[in-house]
Symmetry: C2
Subunit: 292 residues, 2 copies
DNA sequence: GCAAAAGTGTTCTTCGTACACCCATGA
DNA sequence: TCATGGGTGTACGAAGAACACTTTTGC
């Protein structure tokens, strides 16, 4: 079967620059080419466009086929149309970039072997993919000023320093920890994520008796915003008791106790998620910019 | 003659969104289609890509052919690949935008009639060109934050309020005149353009004699930055004399005179041009942003 | 003569940035 | 116990934003 046109037509293909973030550095997803040209070299996932799909649909399909990734949000980088960029025939490629969490891992359907590379350790690439990668990085740096784009690279909850490392990895600069946090929080698009706690870990017996009966369950943060009296009716837990995240006081028994729950081990720091409403508002208004 | 491929290939075309600025508002250059499809509707200049040219080369060539415009700086907007965007066959279009001064006028080689339209009065467009225009406007708004892009839309010398109107037209907002000027000047990319003056328009006779002999030719602005003594050796012109743009004192004659040249009529306000060195520096560093 | 635009500075507020110590966690 | 990272606030300087009156120009 063949297709004939009165004028010469180039082939049209798509390429996807998929960025991931592992909490440390920026990564990019590559596929080892199993066939000529450039056999054995690494390249971006992608392939030829069908006549019944748009470039974006093509990119999604190829990504799905070659890396099992199912990505909704693709951003177009533009068309790459160098006359000799593909030795087989004239190919115009429409490139996209995507941001994912590397945990949405890449099976690799074996036919093509997909692998994550740290952005600084990207090997030699096939075609003009080095050039495309540079463009993608430039675009990413530009976009991150205008949109809180980075969140798509992080899980649903993340620590402030993960977020900071992401920005530092993308922009290639270092920020002051406190200023970064301040700035991010004052945008309003972040909210504290619900944390999971262990079951009650320790039980303290209170040595000071209170005349009043009272009981309270809440988080340390809340306690600090209310007066000790209001919370404990005159009973004051010790400093070390106050420091636990969750605390359960029952002061109406003969020997009042304070039950404390420590934060789950293995997780460090406060977790944030992003506030979808504010995020959408920013995207719509488009008058929002991250600046550092 | 025909061209045959083992797989179906789309056609690849380019389209150019050419923006102009007439000192008042943003304009866009359109071509009336003389053939089907969409005969009689307006569209962007553009056409099919040849096999020996890149998309950008194609766009430049088509622009030259259809509008006689010879434009160096084209910025790619991206590929538009809707499956049914052209009723004839599958066409993927790579769109560009360009900024010109409408004075670089458009002959229109008659075959295709080219015309400028105010951005608010753009008629119905062929294909998906409405969509492309929206994208181009968005991109222009984004770009103007990062690059002093607007200068390509203005002549070699322009007044501050022309520049301001341009920014307001592109961004769709209003700025405070004084703050805009301050901000623009402190970027350093502007410099006062050389102005042309009429021949000496008036001659004042000085009524105060000076003992010293002295002569001076300079602009009012300079005078203000130096002491009266330094400039005039003790002779002080009157306030109204000081206000002329150019002034020529010769104080060494018996009756000293001050010759003044008024600004050429028909031109209002101070003219600026942009400082190429600083401009290039900004473009290179890319750490510069216009913000208002 | 009259209306529209150009020229000009200051104040207040907001935002950016620099900076240090203590405590908790995990090895 | 030791090293690493998390949590927290303040003070200074720079930049943005608001604001009015006089002169010049063009009609």
């Amino acid at each position: 079967m063949s297709y004939t046109y009165p004028y010469p037509h180039p082939a049209v293909a798509t390429d996807c620059v998929v960025f991931g973030f592992d909490g440390k550095g920026l990564q990019v997803l590559l596929i080892r080419r199993g066939v000529e040209p450039y056999k054995g070299l690494w390249a971006f996932p992608g392939g030829f466009m069908r006549m019944d799909e748009t470039a974006e649909e093509c990119a999604k399909r190829e990504l799905q086929e070659e890396t099992s990734l199912n990505i909704q949000m693709l951003k177009q980088l533009g068309a790459f149309s160098g006359v000799h960029r593909d030795p087989r025939e004239r190919v115009v490629s429409v490139a996209f970039y995507a941001l994912v969490q590397p945990s949405e891992v890449v099976g690799g359907d074996d036919a093509s072997h997909a692998e994550w590379f740290a952005i600084e350790e990207v090997p030699q690439l096939a075609f003009d993919h080095d050039f495309i990668l540079r463009k993608a990085m430039q675009q990413l740096r530009k976009d991150i000023y205008f949109e809180p784009i980075g969140f798509e690279l992080l899980g649903s909850a993340f620590t402030m320093s993960e977020l900071q490392r992401l920005y530092e990895a993308i922009l290639g600069v270092r920020f002051d920890r406190r200023n970064f946090e301040k700035k991010m929080l004052q945008t309003g698009i972040l909210q504290l994520a619900e944390e999971e706690y262990d079951d009650i870990a320790d039980v303290f017996t209170c040595f000071e008796q209170s005349d009043e009966t009272n009981s309270f369950f809440g988080k340390t943060k809340e306690m600090r915003t209310k007066s000790i009296d209001e919370l404990f009716g005159g009973f004051k837990p010790s400093d070390s008791e106050m420091k636990f995240s969750d605390i359960n006081c029952s002061l109406n028994s003969e020997s009042p106790t304070i039950e404390t729950a420590k934060r789950k081990p293995g997780r460090k720091g406060r977790k944030y998620s992003f506030n979808k409403d504010e995020y959408d508002r920013f995207k719509k208004n488009n008058n929002f910019r991250f600046e550092f």
